[in-house]
């Protein structure tokens, strides 16, 4: 670097100047933040988890889909906390104070999570009955302000009169709330309920249409839906939005698996124990959900490895994780959405399964469509989350570290094992084919030449040979010593060698016929029989 360049980077005054983000950017967060309704609902489930709920019930309003209700039996929150959030605390929720007996990791974002539902409805009602403090009920209506905020004279944007150094100079109205009368019989105990009673017609229409299609509604037993219905389809797209919503919720929230044997070799036994200990249920329209992972019944089996517990500190921040990677040998996973790696931060799935295997840079062909896995991050990675909490900043050092560990396992352990199994399967199949074809040759010889045969010695590749001991010519048996040639000795394509060897055997036997005409006739008959059974 030249001296002149160095000189130009010297600050004009001491201390850096602050870079400020316009408040309007934050205002947009309350709408349009989540990828799908399932992501918004996942945030509400996360809030329920944090509130130590044991049961979350989501009602989609099937078959009309004109209202949606999410009810939990958690500790709720009081009117004061609600007012703090709506009066400027949005996006700045104080994490619930951890009681000494709360062992659950906190995962939700009370304010933003709560408002996420606004993405699919015009307004909604929230009611909460807390353990301590005043219960409340309120209707919240968020403005549809995308264009409005861009106007310079928008009445939604006001300059604050008295502004301390640390405060924002602008206030943005993002909506309205109205406190409603709270009825004591709203809840049997404590809890929170969100009722989106004015759903966006596009949501209603899409979901109404989706349940009309075949297999559009899951079986009441989620296990049956996962094992029988989904397995018939390549992708959740074939099942429609309603089924997809339920599947995505099941995949992303911290609920147990269908069994501790849902992944072979006991890879999720310990995770399952921890999840069962939490006693946390999520029901959608009365269907109790479990993680939609069921790796069983594949003819070629599964290759599974543990992602061992790994802990490190990067830039003064700790990251700790473990998990598993599983490969369904020789068969594409169904549905497609199960392919890839799911990263769970404190039990909550971030986005969906990543089919790129966290940007794995080697082309493993169709093998990569056999891979699924989960990484459970117990500490760290939260700062790598993008604002939608549905994806990661791929250049965050903690993400890069995790990615490297996963890729190393894929490259050095998972795929080598997969290729080795493929080779073993190919060899076994080749031997089975060779035996079957030798058998086909024997049958052609026996049937056409009325021959007596026996199996000869196998060649170096283990391919058995055929020895013809006698054939019938006219009315009499004639002993022979015709042996099928070792296919590997024939100078032709590997795939043609056994056929060439068999044809030569038939030819040798045909030559023993007394006339050219008989030779041709019997050779033709034997060849056609062989080809029929090949």
């Amino acid at each position: 670097m030249s001296e002149a360049n160095v000189e130009s980077e010297k600050p004009e005054a001491s201390g850096g100047n602050k870079i400020v983000l316009h408040e309007k950017a934050f205002a947009h967060l309350t709408r349009g933040m989540y990828r799908s309704p399932a992501s918004a609902l996942r945030e509400l489930v996360s809030n329920a988890w944090d509130a130590r709920a044991h049961k979350v019930e989501i009602r989609t309003g099937i078959p009309h889909f004109v209202e949606l209700t999410v009810t939990d039996d958690g500790e709720g929150f009081d009117e004061a906390e609600f007012l703090r959030i709506v009066k400027g605390g949005l996006g700045n929720s104080e994490k619930r104070i951890r009681d000494t007996d709360n062992t659950r990791p906190l995962i939700g974002r009370l304010g933003v999570g709560m408002f996420g539902i606004a993405q699919i409805c015009g307004s909604f009602v929230i009611a909460s009955r807390p353990k301590k403090g005043k219960p409340f009920k309120a209707r919240i209506r968020l403005y549809n302000f995308r264009e409005e905020l861009d106007k310079t004279d928008s009445p939604l944007v006001r300059r604050r009169e008295k502004v301390a150094d640390t405060e924002s100079s602008l206030e943005i109205d993002i909506g309205e709330y109205e406190l409603l009368a709270f009825s004591e019989d709203e809840f049997e105990g404590t809890g929170t309920r969100i009722v989106a009673d004015v759903m966006h017609p596009v949501f209603s229409r899409t979901f109404r249409d989706s349940i009309q299609q075949s297999d559009g509604v899951p079986d009441r037993e989620w296990g049956v839906a996962v094992k029988k219905q989904i397995s018939k389809h390549h992708s959740l797209q074939e099942l429609g939005e309603y089924f997809r919503l339920i599947w995505e919720i099941a995949a992303s929230v911290p609920i147990p698996y269908l069994g501790d044997d849902a992944v072979p070799s006991g890879r999720v036994v310990n995770v399952q124990k921890d999840l069962l200990k939490e006693d946390f249920q999520v029901l959608v329209d009365g269907i109790q959900l479990f993680k939609p992972v069921w790796l069983k019944g594949n003819r070629n089996g599964y290759t599974t490895i543990d992602v061992p517990y790994t802990e490190t500190t990067l830039y003064n921040r700790k990251i700790a994780f473990q998990g598993y990677i599983a490969v369904q040998e020789g068969k594409q996973l169904k549905p497609d959405e199960l392919r890839g790696i799911m990263i769970r931060v404190k039990g909550v799935g971030i986005g969906l399964y990543d089919p790129s295997l966290l940007d794995y840079r080697f082309n493993e062909g169709p093998r990569s469509r056999w891979v699924t896995g989960e990484i459970f991050v117990s500490e760290g990675l939260e700062n790598a989350l993008n604002v939608d909490r549905d994806s990661f900043n791929r250049f965050h050092p903690q993400f890069r570290f995790l990615q490297r560990q996963v890729h190393k396992l894929l490259r050095e352990e998972v795929f080598p094992e997969v290729y080795s199994k493929i080779k073993r399967r190919s060899n076994r199949r080749a031997k089975e084919n060779a035996s079957a074809r030798t058998e086909a040759l024997a049958e052609a010889v026996q049937e056409t030449f009325a021959a007596k045969t026996r199996q000869g010695p196998a060649n170096a590749a283990g391919m058995p040979s055929l020895v013809v001991r006698s054939i019938k010519i006219g009315e009499s048996d004639r002993s022979t010593d015709v042996r099928s040639e070792d296919p590997d000795e024939l100078d032709t394509k590997k795939g043609n060698r056994q056929l060439a060897s068999s044809v030569l055997t038939l030819f040798d036997l045909a030559l023993m016929q007394p006339t050219k005409n008989q030779m041709r006739q019997i050779f033709t008959k034997a060849l056609l029989k062989l080809l029929r059974d090949w």
Partner: protein, 370 residues
């Protein structure tokens, strides 16, 4: 404040037990078979669902309502105002078709028919706001409700007055009744099953009153009965012998409750006739009444009617002038009105009965803490 527990009411259970269940069994026995050798199709039921869905559970326990192979109450349609109330009921009768809206507001709307698979585009000139969304919601629900017809059994347990003084004639309840009767003639499509009904049963419940009706409503009710008396003179004798009055107006003033108990079923039957439905005289007509005294409210009397209807034969819909009643229909109508005039309400006073313990036991079996 103590909330009155309607579901605990043993008098109501008496009506269920002695009225609804046996009459619903009659309806069930008349349902057509799915195929020649197959079972009868499942009964389709519309209700306003009591707390805890006990009417549905009572019908289920009596094997009148049957769940689907997937264990869903998918032949039950019910209404409640609030989504959370619908959710609560769905926890008990999973798979039922719950409508989270005021029944009268919905049915008395008038939206055009929309195909089941919604392909209508988003409006070009409407705001993307609550008002537009609510309009769409009501439109969807209206279409869905219409498509859920016909029903075999309807429990119109509305817990309100038949006519409210502020309403315009004929009142929102009777307007809704007209639409129900019209929609009952639809051919419904439920999965692979096409259903058309020629007969159905109604459990109709209402509060007696209000006594201070506006003149237009009062005159209308009186006229309805007077017209019958003029047409079927025997009714006058019945009126005299039962109530010591020989005309409807006198009865209205001297004994409003008895007048009301005649006028309501009479109104239901005559409006049904206008829509090509008549009372099925092969089946019973039953009426019950009992008093209620909720805390912090005046005592009132509930009346329960059980009416079986069937399509008019010959059909009035095929008549050029439907006001010219065919003789056969006119005969049935006359007998129907006579039946209403001669059948007193069964006065349910559980305290005077010896089976209160049984009724409480029945309620207990339905999950009600008595």
């Amino acid at each position: 404040m103590t909330t009155f527990k309607y579901e605990n009411c043993t008098s109501k259970q008496y009506v269920r037990s002695k009225g609804w269940i046996p009459e619903a069994k009659e309806r069930l026995a008349r349902l057509p078979k799915v195929s020649q050798r197959g079972p009868r199709r499942r009964l389709r039921y519309l209700t306003f669902c009591a707390e805890g869905a006990i009417d549905v559970l009572a019908l289920r326990n009596a094997k009148i309502i049957k769940k689907s192979a997937e264990k869903l109450y998918d032949t039950v349609t019910f209404f409640d105002f609030a989504p959370q109330a619908v959710d609560k009921t769905l926890r008990i009768i999973e798979g039922a078709n719950g409508f989270p809206i005021d029944f009268f507001e919905l049915i008395n709307s008038d939206y055009p028919e929309i195909p089941q698979s919604e392909s209508d585009l988003d409006p070009q000139d409407a705001e993307e706001d609550d008002v537009t969304f609510r309009e769409a919601k009501n439109r969807y629900l209206y279409g869905d409700f219409r498509r859920s017809f016909p029903f075999d059994l309807m429990n119109l347990d509305v817990e309100r007055y038949v006519i409210r003084p502020t309403e315009k004639l004929p009142g929102e309840l009777l307007t809704a009744w007209d639409k129900i009767l019209e929609w009952q003639k639809r051919e419904g499509s439920f999965g692979k099953l096409k259903i058309k009904v020629d007969e159905f049963t109604v459990f109709f419940t209402a509060k007696i009153g209000p006594r201070e009706l506006p003149d237009t409503h009062r005159d209308n009710l009186i006229r309805v009965i007077e017209a019958n008396i003029e047409r079927f003179p025997d009714l006058k004798h019945i009126l005299s012998s039962r109530f010591s009055e020989d005309n409807a107006e006198k009865l209205y003033h001297s004994n409003f409750d008895e007048f009301f108990k005649l006028a309501v079923p009479k109104a239901l039957i005559s409006r049904a006739l206008a829509k090509d439905w008549m009372l099925d005289l092969e089946l019973s007509y039953k009426a019950f009444e009992f008093d209620r005294q909720p805390p912090a409210s005046d005592e009132y009397t509930m009346v329960h009617y059980i009416l079986h209807f069937r399509r008019c034969a010959p059909s009035l819909d095929a008549q050029i002038n439907p006001l010219n009643l065919p003789l056969a229909v006119a005969k049935v109508y006359g007998e129907s009105v006579t039946r209403v005039f001669t059948t007193p309400c069964d006065d349910v006073d559980v305290s005077k009965m010896d089976d209160e313990a049984t009724l409480k036991m029945e309620l207990g079996a339905l999950g009600v803490a008595v």
